[in-house]
């Protein structure tokens, strides 16, 4: 019997997901023994052609890393779908757009302008931005062209499983691989992770969610035992899917939301916005003027960046719709 085929295909990623696989430690050898690597540019010397040559649907497990942000990654996403028996969106970027998805706060043109012309450290007197096709002696050179809007994998192709996280928690990756290799995958559409939010695993003491003041992380030394949110630090834990063992809050770092929305939530950011604005300024709320409420909510800097850090492309609004230069 031939070994199951595994491919790890990158999109717009930072390779953090790859590194997280190394955290499997020696168990990675078991994975390598148990599978046949069909494609994994980070680790295996296989060419794109090799992948293209494989029959459609012949790769048992495809982990797709990263968001879809240009025509190349879009093509890779489609290829991944074509070749995969089980396509897993691996990591926050593939699942929700992730950090690259924050590009959706600006237009493609403004991003190119900023990157190639307007940034202070750039010298580009001719104002050249990458062209898709550049004619040179002996033919044409092409570079991938940015999409106007960064997308999650499932906004491009159908996805079978989701494994969120930035990077995905090792335990969940192991669970998914074991399930896939033993042929015991859950129903399609399953998100590997908890049904509950990060708070379920968080060991911090939760007593009273009446928040009087929002504090930014550098402003206080948080109490190591108490809920960070209750200390005024914006922790996305309540609105974020668990399964990560709450590793960030455990080491005094507030949850940033990389596991995405919970199982019953469509929009992580709006959910957290509602939760936080409900409990902030709860004390003595009756005597407060509209102006004071406005000041109160102004304490939350950059709501979009705070609440949608990993999920902007997958949110209800998907992107910013005005041009922001």
């Amino acid at each position: 019997m031939s070994k199951p085929k595994l491919a790890i295909i990158p999109g717009a990623n930072c390779a953090g997901c790859d590194y997280s696989l190394l955290d499997l430690g020696e168990k990675i050898i078991d994975v390598l023994i148990a599978t046949e690597i069909a494609y994994w540019p980070t680790a295996a010397d296989l060419k794109l052609e090799d992948l293209e040559k494989l029959p459609d649907g012949s790769i048992d497990i495809v982990l797709f890393e990263g968001a879809v942000n240009n025509d190349e990654t879009e093509e890779m996403a489609k290829l991944a779908r074509k070749k995969a028996k089980n396509l897993i969106a691996f990591g926050a970027c593939a699942c929700f757009g992730g950090i690259p998805g924050l590009a959706n706060v600006a237009s493609r043109d403004s991003i190119l302008q900023k990157a190639y012309i307007k940034s202070l450290s750039t010298v580009n007197q001719q104002g050249i931005v990458p062209y898709k096709i550049t004619k040179v002696d002996g033919g044409e050179l092409t570079v991938p062209e940015l999409l106007e809007t960064v997308k999650s994998l499932d906004q491009v192709v159908k996805v079978d499983y989701y494994l969120p996280g930035c990077p995905p928690p090792l335990k969940l990756t192991a669970d998914a691989l074991v399930a896939a290799l033993s042929g015991k995958l859950p129903p399609k559409g399953t998100v590997f992770g908890s049904m509950k939010s990060v708070c379920d695993d968080c060991k911090r003491i939760r007593e009273n969610k009446r928040i009087t003041e929002i504090k930014r992380y550098h402003q206080i030394v948080p109490d190591a035992e108490k809920c960070l949110l209750e200390q005024g630090i914006v922790c996305m834990g309540p609105a974020t899917r668990g399964g990560c063992d709450a590793i960030c809050p455990t080491v005094n770092i507030p949850c940033r939301g990389c596991m995405g929305p919970t199982s019953e939530s469509r929009d992580q950011g709006a959910r957290m916005l509602s939760a936080l604005s409900s409990v902030i300024g709860l004390e003595g709320e009756a005597g407060v003027s509209d102006e004071d409420v406005r000041k109160l909510v102004l304490q939350i800097k950059d709501p979009l960046g705070t609440f949608y850090r990993y999920t902007l492309p997958k949110s209800i609004m998907r992107r910013v719709w005005g041009v922001r230069e």
Binding site: V105, T149, K151, Q155, V156, S265, R266, D267, G269, A270, R271, L273, S274, L276, S277, S278, I280, G281, E285, A286, V288, D290, V293, R294, L296, V297, L298, I300, D302, P303, L304, F307, S315, I316, M317, R318, V320, W321, G322, V323, R324
Partner: protein
């Protein structure tokens, strides 16, 4: 201003004050534009920002959230939560590139039928001036690509 633009406005109303105020506008036969359609909830405090974003993403040109006046909430303090949520949501909407004028929070009591009719007229005018919300259209195009 675009010709033939009929704003599509979604109204959330609490059962006790605002919905009753709208009923009163009806029984008093106060005429206001037909562009508003109402979803009744028991308290304005039930309204989740998710639903407001959904409305804008789905083609609403304006969203009007109404509740009992401060101090009059049937559930004591639900409207205070609404106020805070809407004020923070306004900022988020602006970041999303949705004019914050498309979202409005008004307190309407059960006796303020006339006030509601006036708000309705005013808000429809305001949205007419802003023009259509194109997000839904653009989102549909994005989806069509997939």
């Amino acid at each position: 201003m675009e010709k033939d633009f009929e704003p599509n406005i979604l109204v959330f109303a609490c059962n006790w004050c605002s919905y009753a105020g709208m009923d009163l506008a009806g029984t008093s036969r106060l005429q206001y534009p037909h562009n508003l359609k109402v979803i009744r909830v028991m308290c304005s405090g039930r309204i989740n920002p998710v639903h407001i974003l959904e409305a804008f993403a789905n083609g609403a040109d304006g969203v009007l959230v109404t509740g009992c006046h401060p101090g009059d909430c049937h559930y004591i303090s639900g409207n205070y939560k609404t106020r805070r949520r809407i004020m923070l949501l306004e900022r988020l909407l602006e970041q999303f590139g949705v004019e914050k004028e498309r979202l409005r929070l008004e307190w309407v009591s059960a006796s303020e039928g006339e006030r509601f009719a006036n708000i309705a007229k005013e808000f429809v005018e305001q949205i007419r001036k802003l023009g259509p919300n194109r997000i839904a259209e653009k989102l549909r195009k994005e989806v069509a690509v997939v």
